[in-house]
Symmetry: D2
Subunit: 264 residues, 4 copies
């Protein structure tokens, strides 16, 4: 079973990078049983809307994970209830709209996708470790976990905690790909962060000027998605469908050539 997992799509530039680069990636590294994309920043960097959900769906995405920004657009909240392929972290407390996991069905079998949120430097949600225990109870591998978190320690601790119980733990949220992809001792593929998809000339997907200015002044600021140096970041995972063990994890980073996009 081959799975493509793509990191946080940031705004219009992120969607453009995805649309233009996905075919090339499919032809280079595919075919994929499943394409999974983190969409928490798809709408201008903050949340998701119906229109953007439809746009992404039309690109052949099988499952959309998310994170802390999923609540930023009001439209996104109803989508979480109506669209089974759109996930929010499972450890948001009871009473939040949406679901945190789903099962994909493909040619070589099923894959459970589980979305979790870290707490260190983030939000007061339920324990991601125990929420994983709860959801994985009696579940069959293969399982892929998107741990959306800030701290490297929390992501790796979760991966080691789940080692052998899931097929892969892939990190999102910092928007910078890490160089530590590996197969853990009990067969779980892990990477601290897969990086983001969007304009890489700025700061984690946003125009550099406003971000630098916020660090200089500590005043709140309106960020806009950066539209230069568009790249797609993700990982390609090979999973043994019968054992659920990961066979390989490799980083994918593709750049959209300048002539290929107009800078709107």
């Amino acid at each position: 079973m081959r799975v493509l997992f793509i990191g946080d799509i940031v705004g219009r530039p992120g969607r453009k990078a995805l649309q233009r680069l996905l075919p090339r990636i499919k032809s280079l590294y595919g075919p994929f049983d499943f394409v999974i994309v983190n969409v928490e920043n798809a709408a201008g960097g903050f949340g998701i809307t119906q229109k953007i959900f439809d746009e992404l769906s039309s690109m052949g995405i099988d499952c959309m994970t998310s994170g802390n920004h999923i609540w930023d657009k009001k439209e996104g909240l109803s989508l979480l209830d109506s669209e089974p392929v759109l996930l929010r972290p499972a450890n948001y407390p009871p009473g939040c709209p949406g679901r945190g996991s789903m099962t994909l069905k493909g040619p070589s079998g099923e894959l459970l996708v589980l979305n979790l949120l870290g707490r260190t430097f983030m939000y007061d949600v339920d324990c991601p470790f125990r929420k994983a225990d709860e959801i994985l109870q009696g579940v069959q591998l293969p399982v892929l976990v998107d741990i959306h978190a800030e701290a490297t320690s929390e992501k790796r601790a979760l991966a080691l905690y789940l080692d052998g119980r899931v097929s892969a733990v892939v990190g999102t949220h910092t928007h910078v790909a890490t160089a530590d992809e590996e197969i853990l001792p009990m067969g779980t593929a892990f990477i601290t962060d897969v990086g983001m998809t969007g304009g890489h000339a700025g700061v984690i997907g946003m125009h550099k000027e406003t971000v630098i200015n916020r660090f200089l002044t500590s005043m709140p600021a309106r960020f806009e998605a950066c539209n230069e140096d568009l790249r797609l970041n993700g990982v390609c995972l090979d999973i043994d469908a019968s054992s659920g063990r990961a066979l390989s994890i490799s980083r994918i980073s593709e750049r959209l050539e300048e002539e290929a996009y107009d800078r709107r």
Copy 2:
């Protein structure tokens, strides 16, 4: 001018990895004009002592940078005043012992090393952006900056802010190497984090059991350095000594083979 920068040395395993692997790295990628190492975790994961400072000095280190953990051992405080090659972040407030920058002199010229601390999710220190402005006033390139920080956004924002004014901005503190090394538009080499040097089987250099347990219980815990899967992480930088521009930045990650070390 070729510079080797090595990420946070974690405890005895980190020192062992450094001692055993440095000669190999020198022969593979050297000779280096300067070897710079972040030592904030050199003593059992927390700070530095006289004995460990001497041990590291004997390995041929030209400059030691550090970070938030430099204060953890009382001995370290007096070392900061007595040892000019040992730095602490320059943007700790006036009144703290030690220095935040120094000039190295080598065969192809001088290199200013500047150590800074990020503030996001960290500590209430002076602004690293303005402290860099202040120190770089009238300074000649080449300059290397170790930005010890948690947030990817703060590190990259600083690098873009300093682009063209320093030769390199290398990140430390998260203990996980990122895959985003590049030369920024105005000639500054950048990487969000160079990763750490020590046991990679645990969680960012520490035994996995205690770290996982802390995430599960939120109780304070005593961490111990992990002694398995010893690796050294860093970057090799080529800097044009006359212009001060970076010519290249490449990640280095070397593993100490099992037979080569005993697991004390």
Copy 3:
């Protein structure tokens, strides 16, 4: 010299409480040389606008201090530059609009008002302790400091640090009055927090339902000012105009009777 300092005005209910109760307070505890009000939450709980600034000005306020929420309404930013009586914390970095201190002139002499922001659990601004040192250099007493901060320790540490160098240190931001008003050993009046002015039936000035729901779900929420149980909180300070020492500090808490306001 008698000074009335009133805590954070929260939205329309806060402005109503101020307008209706200020005359009564003046007749009960006045006359006051100066009336100073923290206005960071005056516009719907978040920032200030031209219209609301004018409304407050017409009530006979001599100086308006603020805090972290002063940036929330775009209009507020230009007011900070155009209106000398409107302050923002002085330790926001250079480059921010506005001023952090001003001198009031009254019948029994001048009073310097200094607004500062705490950093613990708050924002990465300049050190409030050293900013106070800088501004107080060569300044004549009396001086009143509004320390807008979260942590009790930071507020009291600042007050003890400034004891004898200013006439009063009054805390704001937590919206709950503390019962620790006192004259410190060297003559500085201090209270950790003066509390807020607005609807006290909710949670720190906001409708209880949305606040409770945010704690239950960790989802972002739009808060609205609470309109029940309107009260004004502040302190009355007596300062010896020649020595600048505080003679007394007493808490004021007045409730607007139900019949006196309509619940729009």
Copy 4:
């Protein structure tokens, strides 16, 4: 039913204040059905030991609550399991030693004491709101809740959430008494913080010099309990034993006269 609740005992000065002042308070405001004391800082400011537990027990304390500092002394951990009157916040995750609630039996009936920890600006524990729901399921009033938390909003939101379901919600942890004690609409007594018991000349119970120095330098520091201006802070609660509703809540603040203690 009359209950005396006393805020965080800080170190030896706090224990001395408790021992010397408790008899006077009992004679002034008693007799009390129950005396409850928060002991998280009883041992030098950090945690508790066997010796100090015995010392406090001998003073006639019926129940000891605590907070985030309860884990600071290793001895405290085993006490949590062996001593039923010593509580730690109930919303620490499963796997932590100790208990978070207990039932006191007295002349006018039983009282359930429930200890909870806030999460805002604090630690990643289980949701205190839902943990309260869980423990209060089927429980008879009267119930007293010690909410040990930093943010005023979280404490008041919890009190309003539990209004009518418990007899009292008293806050601890900030070490500064608030002036907002009241009976909420459905009959629950509430105060944001009862303040601390110990030396009030310093900063929240600690020597002022080290605390100020930490704010100035951001370096870690060893704090020592302040031994000047010893005071005891708490609240006296009257609860209708049959309905469980609070009849009154009043703040108690007693100072130990200088001659009454030696400054060891």
